[in-house]
């Protein structure tokens, strides 16, 4: 040893010593050699280590909340609410907070690519020039009637651009669709408002000023229409602006998050919400005295008490409560409208407001203002229209399909056969930001930027009493080789030439946006004004949009109570012994499953994480011989899924419930192969307004013998008194 101890050995030992020092002192020389990439040219508004804030719009759902994103050295760090924005007044929901996990998702589509065979996931990257050539070719060389644009639910600048483009080439108008719209029953709301008040519009519920809210299935604290705005309304109602603490009564077969905040939760038989509304109307009308309005004249309270499972005494109590409130409000929505009698249910519930003088009264129902640059009420496609569209695809009428902002393979009922129908479409081009199921069935994926990397605007359809246009701007430069779909279409249109190019003579997306919002420069009562478009655009970006400073709520009119409302029996499809009650996961929404932090946020009512489950009443579970963490097979007329049992104490024993949001077969590592999708069970039945009657379903539940440990935040022993030994 003595003889062989060389300099090299010494250095080896010395490095061991250095490493030891690093370990013992807890910090070492290593961290200094982390590469720092300073700016080559520092933007003048940036300082090292100082944050920059950009106003933009949240794209996690169609509500259009305003965001202010904190960025630092070109990285988006934190999402905060835009305090001036009329929809959310500086607040965000859980999905909005997690939008950064979409931006920095490790599984984003990074380059435009061609798939060798649909579903093969064998993508070969291409460059954007080639991609634009593909789009231009599809626009030019397809019979225009065979070109269809399938867009997301949000009425945004891209929808306007695509509408213009479709008009220019003579293609049918683009379709807007989103699963949230399906679960919200937007079309039903619009149709009910039209048939009652004689004017198509979104209803606006002034919850903050009411002192009693009867909610018939409307999950307004979760995902319904504009949850942040409704949560603010709910909080104001509870704080009791002038009325004292407001009361919430919620009618739903299962205790949802909204129901859990209710002072009274009525576990009503599915499909009888409209009938109960009528009974309450009759009792309230009687309690208020005067002549009985025609709308409630023919109501048989006893029969309704029997069919709805709400006792006559309870109905009486509720009716009198509703009649006696200062500012009562009744809201129809969600699964209550997803029955064959859904449209009539919506009408019956809205009529309750008319009964107590709630139309156009503070704390009552209004018609929501149209968004800026909007002349008439528009709504996303309902299920009947989607079914027609799928039929057209199947018949081969549609040659080229552009899909942006929606994931129909996942979101549409499987029984509709969208995935099969895609096979009859020659060219499918997806603009997906994430590798979702639909992109996997496309020929080309030309990834759009993430919402936080994009320009744009979005009309606010619900949740604001002011007419509002939410503005979006990139808060960071695009992380990958993606391109704004608007730019792709503009470039393609230019290369098509002719009338198409003339209709869209814009250099880029921003120019297009300016061409649209220029109409607002001359508007009055704006949050800000500007003499000309460039200044206006700058403010538009700085403030995160443009909105009126005055309420533009319209008072609904029409002879609402003059004619009888006939609410029929809900017609349930299938032979199973359980009502099926699907709901949108309050945490994941329709598209949150690929964000790891959202997966780890516990569901508010069940505290389950990272998976989906089926809620079964403990007694029912006992009868079925299943327990927590058992996997059961749920069979409907249209399909079957497996799901993990969660023994949920606050659900009707004859009903099972399942969240929508998981069960992806693609969509990145955090979503794929996790849980199951209740949309696989949906049939095609629709209600009077063409919305999917997804709650009109009876299902069978069978034990499979498999087990799956459902991750929960709660302790089953501490909360349910279960022995801990069974716990995962």
């Amino acid at each position: 040893m003595t003889d062989n101890f060389s300099r090299r050995d010494f250095l080896k030992l010395a490095s061991v010593g250095a490493a030891t020092t690093a370990i013992l002192t807890g910090c070492g020389p290593a961290s200094r050699y982390v590469t720092r990439e300073p700016y080559t040219k520092m933007p003048e508004y940036t300082y090292n280590g100082q944050s920059t804030y950009y106003a933009t719009t949240c794209r996690e759902c169609a509500a259009g909340c305003g965001l202010v994103v904190r960025t630092m050295q070109g990285r988006a760090i934190k999402v905060e609410g835009n305090k001036n924005h009329p929809v959310n007044l500086g607040k965000t929901c859980v999905r909005g907070q997690a939008t950064l996990h979409g931006l920095y998702n490790p599984d984003r589509v990074q380059d435009p690519a061609k798939q060798s065979k649909r579903g093969s996931r064998d993508f070969s990257n291409m460059d954007w020039d080639a991609a634009i050539a593909v789009v231009a070719d599809a626009l030019k060389n397809t019979d225009p009637t065979g070109v269809t644009f399938l867009m997301g639910m949000a009425p945004d600048h891209l929808f306007d651009l695509v509408s213009d483009l479709a008009k220019a080439i003579g293609a049918p108008a683009p379709i807007r669709f989103g699963a949230l719209g399906m679960f919200e029953a937007r079309a039903t709301l619009g149709k009910a408002v039209e048939s009652l008040f004689g004017q198509a519009a979104m209803p606006f519920f002034d919850m903050g000023k009411s002192d009693l809210v009867f909610s018939f299935g409307a999950n307004f604290l979760e995902t319904w229409l504009s949850p942040v705005a409704f949560t603010r309304g709910f909080a104001n109602m509870r704080r009791g602006g002038g009325h004292g603490r407001g009361t919430l009564v919620h009618f739903e077969p299962r205790m949802s998050q909204t129901a859990s905040k209710a002072d009274m939760w009525i576990p009503i038989t599915p499909g009888t919400e409209g009938l109960v509304a009528l009974a309450i109307g009759r009792i309230a009308a009687e309690a208020r005295g005067g002549s009985l309005p025609a709308a409630f004249a023919d109501v048989d309270v006893e029969a309704i008490a029997k069919s709805s499972g709400v006792s006559a005494e309870k109905l009486d109590e509720l009716g009198k409560l509703f009649a006696s409130a200062d500012a009562a409000l009744a809201i129809p929505g969600g699964a209550a409208l997803a029955h064959s009698n859904g449209l009539e249910t919506a009408e019956a519930v809205l009529a309750l407001n008319a009964l107590v003088g709630g139309l156009g009264r503070a704390g009552g129902v209004f018609l929501a203002p149209l968004a800026p640059m909007q002349t008439e009420f528009s709504r996303p496609a309902n299920m009947a229209e989607m079914a027609d569209f799928v039929e057209k695809m199947k018949s081969g009428e549609i040659k080229t399909l552009f899909i942006h902002g929606v994931n129909p393979v996942f979101e549409l009922p499987k029984s509709l056969g969208f995935e099969d129908a895609l096979k009859s479409v020659q060219t499918v081009i997806s603009f997906a930001t994430f590798p979702d199921e639909t992109a996997m069935q496309a020929d080309y994926v030309f990834p759009d930027h993430h919402g936080l990397e994009s320009w744009g605007y979005q009309r606010v359809a619900a949740g604001s009493s002011q007419s509002a246009l939410s503005g979006a701007q990139p808060v960071v430069s695009p992380y990958y080789n993606t391109r704004a779909t608007a730019d792709v279409f503009l470039a393609a249109a230019a290369s098509v030439g002719g009338a198409t190019a003339q209709a869209l003579p814009f250099k880029d997306e921003v120019e297009f946006i300016q061409s649209k919002i220029v109409a607002l420069v001359s508007e009055s009562d704006g949050y800000f004004g500007a003499p000309e478009i460039n200044t206006f655009t700058a403010y538009f970006q700085q403030y995160g949009g443009w909105w009126k400073t005055v309420d533009e709520l319209a008072t609904p009119g029409g002879d609402v109570l003059g004619k009888a409302i006939q609410v029929g029996e809900a017609r349930f499809a299938g032979e199973g012994e359980f009502y099926f009650h699907p709901f949108v996961s309050p945490v994941l929404g329709e598209a949150g499953a690929n964000k790891p932090w959202l997966q780890e946020i516990p569901d508010p009512t069940t505290t389950a994480m990272w998976s989906s489950w089926v809620e079964i009443h403990p007694e029912t579970a006992h009868e079925l011989g299943v327990d927590n963490d058992d996997v059961v097979l749920i069979t409907s007329e249209a399909g079957a899924v497996e799901a993990v049992v969660y023994k949920y104490p606050a659900i009707r024993p004859d009903t099972i419930a399942m969240p929508f949001g998981q069960g992806h077969t693609a969509y990145g590592r955090y979503a794929e192969g996790r849980g199951s999708n209740p949309a696989d069970l949906f049939g095609e039945q629709v209600n009077g307004a063409g919305d999917l009657a997804f709650a009109d379903m009876r299902v069978k539940v069978e034990k499979t013998g498999k087990k799956y440990p459902l991750s929960r935040l709660e302790s089953r022993m501490g909360v349910y008194g279960e022995a801990l030994g069974e716990e995962h």
């Binding site: 934190k78 920095y104 992380y479 508010p604 909360v719």
Partner: protein, 247 residues
């Protein structure tokens, strides 16, 4: 097992205990809708890692704030108890502090908060054992954040490595930023000038944060109200978080 035991007792009357500390929080359980926006906002602000399905189901989730809820009664008369966001109560007399052998969890003299000094922590986990609110989370592993997710990390907050205890800090980085800003402008911090990430996100404004030693601040007024109570007050921990009873 027995089932009587459902919910911690809310017997303490706030008005009788002397309020200590500098920063305080009031959480209105009547208004909290359990929407989890605070949980997500906290995780994003404070670089809280996600742990994955198996670990989160095994009691290793890292949430600095969680909403608890229990059940009362049987169907159909069943009620869910009000959502109760649980976070570090920033006790004035914290059980976690005296038991740490390394002074990694110490009381801040200047901010009157319970600090968790990550770089001093050796990971005995005694503080977590002794926390009656069970709001401390331990880095059981170096939880993975695949590229490019680390781009989202907040540079104002240390990223913790394995073997270190962590907990809610009342967004001390925001406190420092606001104090620094106010000081550089030669003024005191105004009430509502800044707030914690959870309070900032809360769509219902159920969480209010501010100076509890200023009787005029919004949080002081709320905390003084008749609905206020402290969690497990019988332990004498003097929490800085006041809950407002529902109903």
């Amino acid at each position: 097992m027995t089932t009587e035991l459902k919910i911690p007792e809310f017997s303490a009357n706030f008005a009788e205990s002397g309020q200590q500390g500098k920063w305080g929080m009031a959480i209105d359980m009547d208004i909290c809708t359990g929407c989890q926006a605070c949980v997500a906002a906290c995780a994003m602000e404070n670089n809280v890692p996600f742990v994955g399905e198996a670990d989160s189901g095994y009691g290793r989730s890292m949430h600095w704030i969680r909403t608890e809820r229990f059940w009362e009664g049987e169907f159909p008369e069943i009620k869910m108890t009000p959502y109760q966001p649980m976070l570090c109560q920033q006790c004035g007399h914290a059980p976690c502090e005296p038991v740490c052998p390394a002074f990694a969890t110490v009381h801040s003299q200047s901010e009157a908060l319970n600090l968790q000094v990550y770089n001093r922590c050796v990971g005995t986990r005694y503080c977590a054992n002794n926390c009656p609110y069970q709001v401390r989370s331990f880095n059981w592993r170096d939880f993975e954040r695949p590229e490019p997710l680390p781009n989202q990390l907040n540079p104002d907050v240390t990223v913790r490595r394995r073997g270190v205890m962590e907990k809610c800090t009342f967004c001390i980085q925001r406190i420092h930023r606001a104090e620094d800003q106010a000081k550089s402008e030669g003024r005191e911090i105004a009430d509502g000038e800044f707030t914690t990430a959870c309070a900032q996100a809360c769509p219902a404004d159920a969480i209010v944060f501010g100076r509890i030693d200023d009787p005029e601040s919004a949080v002081s007024k709320l905390a003084r109200g008749s609905r206020g109570f402290h969690m497990l007050e019988e332990l004498g921990t003097l929490p800085s978080v006041t809950y407002l009873k529902a109903g």
